[in-house]
Amino acid sequence: MKYPNSLIQLIRELSRLPGVGPKSAQRLAFHLFSSSDQDVKNLSDAILEAKKILKLCPVCYNITDTDLCAVCSDPTRDQDIICVVEEPGDVIAIERSGEFEGLYHVLHGALSPMNGVGPEQIKIAGLLERIQNREGAPVEVILATSTTVEGEATSMFVQRSLEPLGVNVSRIAYGLPVGGALEYADEVTLGRAIAGRRQVTKI
């Protein structure tokens, strides 16, 4: 016996979503079928509505529902510092820390030749253009890509691409987790924390 075609179609579409395998797609499809018409309508409306009004900010490539995103359109933010991150979720995480007052640039990924992601596939050109077209005070760029092999390579690529533009570039510090005892830190984290130490007394 085969499922009806419309059900097969629904399962196929759901299983194309990231992180959803054929099994969960099937479960989701059955769930949708047993939901009320109103619930299903709310869901499909939410998807269509989000798709219709969400777009990328033309300056920083973060996801926004206005012409310029909330950060780019806020004149009180420090216009001279740009923090480069991999994903929109990273912006939210840094905003939550409340430590950063500058602007962002979202790359939408990290270099990964294995997955066919080269410099052209992420928003690096947009960053260079953005910096070249600026007038006034020099900027600082903070590289806040992840510490994975791919994030490190991306950070290095952006750093090298920025070299001819004469901007200050820094990499976020790798630290020890707050509240953690030294003896439980792994060697790489500890090694980096020592390499990236900061001076507290100067004579």
């Binding site: 270099l111 390579a153 991306t154 792994d186």
Partner: protein, 347 residues
């Protein structure tokens, strides 16, 4: 270190349950395919975390989704409980109930497994010897274990970049050279020690008529790894993969000035391999300040008098050793019988 107990669930066809082990020379006796090797393997996995992810599925009993191994290990500073859960493509480890990375098990425990197949270290491909080195150096240096994981990931990305004509290759080169050099440095240090200890063990085993010599054969120049990479650029682009680096290096074994790979007999290869395992044992003993758990598989298949004597002396030098075979050695102080995956105390 002393293996106080071993508990398994769904591990191959070993019968589920918990077994307690005494001190001394323990013999596990049974016919072929009764589970002798599985038993030692299960203990080894739990004590070292070493089991390739691709092999995980093969150790789970047919028809089951998950397997479990737990041991109680006595060290000089007390008893700890190590556990490993296995599921398709996954390994989970716990030490005293706290989740750890599987690689971290090697900080808490150590074991040496001696098997007849060890002769492959001599006659097998360079990858067999690299795997031996990587496993050993990882146990001696957690920094090596971490650098190795990052190196392999970077290598895969770099190879992919080489296949598409080298777009953005520079950023992978920098990290590749940095990690590669670190691995080479740590390997050199370890091989220096391994070389001396193996050569000593070998002359104890086989006398000095044919001198054994171990040497690390490297493909990249450590001092200027990155320059070396740029010299190889054209060749690497043509082959679409990385031509130099620790992933291509080999541990060259010479016996009486000729390559053991080509000229050693099966018996000579087994003697060399045993000397290498003894060196591994010595290095781990030095690192932990106490002897690793000693597991000897298929002892009765060892017919050579020198190697038998050497193995029995080694097994008697530690508080506990587990030896399997179709019959028990005379020196055994405790006898277990294994039949169809079920282990029973005999005397």
């Amino acid at each position: 270190m002393i293996l106080r107990s071993l508990q398994t669930l769904n591990y191959r066809h070993l019968e589920a349950g918990k077994l307690e082990f005494p001190l001394g020379l323990i013999a596990v006796v049974g016919g072929n395919a009764q589970g002798k090797t599985n038993l030692l393997e299960a203990a080894f996995v739990c004590l070292t975390g070493v089991l390739e992810v691709s092999r995980v599925e093969t150790v789970i009993r047919l028809g089951e989704l998950e397997a479990f191994v737990g041991v109680e290990l006595e060290r000089e500073d007390g008893i700890s409980k190590l556990e490993v859960g296995l599921a398709k493509g996954k390994k989970l480890a716990k030490v005293d109930g706290v989740r750890v990375k599987t690689a971290d098990l090697a900080r808490h425990a150590s074991a040496v497994l001696i098997r007849p197949e060890d002769a492959d270290l001599v006659h097998g491909s360079p990858s067999t010897r690299r795997a031996f080195l990587d496993a050993l150096v990882s146990k001696m240096s957690p920094r090596y274990a971490q650098a190795l994981v990052l190196y392999e990931r970077t290598l895969a990305q770099r190879n992919a970049a080489l296949k598409i004509g080298g777009v953005g290759l520079e950023v992978w080169d920098a990290r590749f050279a940095e990690l590669g050099a670190e691995i080479m440095r740590l390997r050199r240090r370890a091989v220096n020690k391994l070389k001396t200890l193996t050569e000593i063990a070998h002359s104890n085993l086989a006398g000095n008529s044919k001198k054994l010599e171990l040497n690390l054969v490297e493909t990249a120049r450590l001092e200027d790894f990155q320059t070396h990479l740029s010299e190889k650029r054209r060749e690497e682009l043509a082959r679409g993969s990385s031509a130099i680096g620790p992933h291509r290096d080999d541990l060259e074994i010479k016996l009486g000035n000729v390559l053991a790979l080509d000229y050693a007999s099966r018996g000579e290869a087994r003697t060399i391999a045993l000397a290498m395992r003894k060196a591994e044992f010595d290095l781990l003993k030095e690192k932990f300040g106490e002897a690793p758990v000693l597991l000897i598989d298929d002892f009765s298949a060892e017919l050579d008098a020198h190697r038998r004597k050497f193995l029995l002396e080694l097994a008697s030098s530690v508080p506990q050793a587990i030896v399997t075979g179709t019959e028990a050695p005379d020196q055994a102080s405790k006898l277990f019988k294994i039949e169809n995956g079920r282990l029973e105390v005999q005397a």
